[in-house]
Amino acid sequence: MKHSISVLLAAGLITLSQSSLAQKTASQSIDEYRAMLQDGNPADLFEAKGEGLWTQKRGPKNASLEKCDLGKGPGVFKGAFVELPKYFADTGRVQDLESRLLTCMETLQGLNAAEIAKTPFGRGEQVNMTALATWVAAESKGMKFNLPQANQAEKTFYEVGKRLFFQRGGPHDFACASCHAEDGKRIRLQDLPNLTKNAGDGIGVAAWPAYRVSNGQMWGMQQRLNDCYRQQRFPYPGFASDATIALGVYLGVNSQGSASIAPAIKR
């Protein structure tokens, strides 16, 4: 275990126990705490559930999702996540993972996509949605983000996403950029990834879906963005709405080359 008195003084940890000879900095301690949680990530529970849901016959059409095309052909899930969002010709839309799962749940299983989109996170079919997204993302674990930008719609969505990222509003004038456009910044004790570029393997976009320790919930990217907007004091972004997908394109393309560690475990 490394101790450093000079770093201790810099951090000014005067309220901490004086019992040990030297003190770690707060951020070293937090890193240790996070490391302790890595072995035994409850996201595994959701991943297992999602894997089961993929092959389970469900919905009015009593069908599984095994023929779902996540962008690499029907039924291909390995590596699909790190190439999303992308343009889909059959829907004429740029879609992220959750938006695309919604399409498959409707076309293959006969479930009502609009109803599911309206359902609050953590309830009803949204529970299944999160589990599915967790499992599909986990099937790309260790792979590098590589979003396509060949299609004009994908390019346009990147530009729209960029504008959304920098859009200030609400009573606090917050934009995504208020917290996520500079290197080495922190909110309270949490490190803030700079999302205008590749923030590194397993950082920023490359860490979601993730299990949230603070509330014991599994969050997909849609819920991550939703809660960012909530804390920005913005109005409610619709589930799988174009704003969330465009932002996903901007963040995903910026993360080009960073390896996904999803499903991660986060504060």
Partner: protein, 151 residues
């Protein structure tokens, strides 16, 4: 109230197997409400037949110096002593101090890792209750921080 034996018989996978194996040393294993109602570390130890607690270097408690979130704090209890009957994990300042009690059998290490909720910064305890009722403890401070945006 179901007996322990009946409960085990209901399980799908190992139905009947555990019950037939017999488990005399765990005959007293029904949930001890007093232990979990106890406010203090000492009272919880008493509820499991332990005496006055005494600090011991042979007992180890593990936990982070700082928990980024009080909802999940990894805590461990272990001891190198033979003859330990029960290992307890406790958080002194929680409304009920006791988090978990493990019966130590010959078939497992006296070393358990779990995760606890902590309402505030507090000392955390590992207590080993020995066959003769001696209760030996280790403690350490875990600081709980307010994280995120505070919202």
């Amino acid at each position: 109230m179901q007996t322990r034996r009946e409960t085990i018989q209901q399980s799908m996978v190992v139905a009947g197997l555990l019950a037939s194996a017999g488990f005399p040393q765990f005959a007293h294993a029904a949930f001890n409400k007093n232990g979990f109602d106890a406010k203090s570390v000492q009272d919880a130890v008493k509820a499991y037949g332990g005496g006055n607690i005494a600090e011991s270097k042979d007992v180890t408690v593990t936990g982070p110096d700082i928990a980024e979130n009080g909802a999940v704090v990894p805590l461990g209890a272990s001891t190198s002593l033979s003859g330990v009957k029960q290992l307890l994990v406790l958080v002194e300042k929680n409304p009920s101090a006791l988090i978990a009690m493990f019966h130590v059998s010959d078939a497992v290490d006296a070393n358990f890792l779990t995760r606890a909720k902590m309402g505030q910064s507090s000392d955390v305890y590992a207590v080993a209750i020995m066959a003769d009722g001696k209760a030996l403890f280790a403690k350490k401070e875990v600081k709980v921080t307010l994280g995120g945006c505070g919202g």
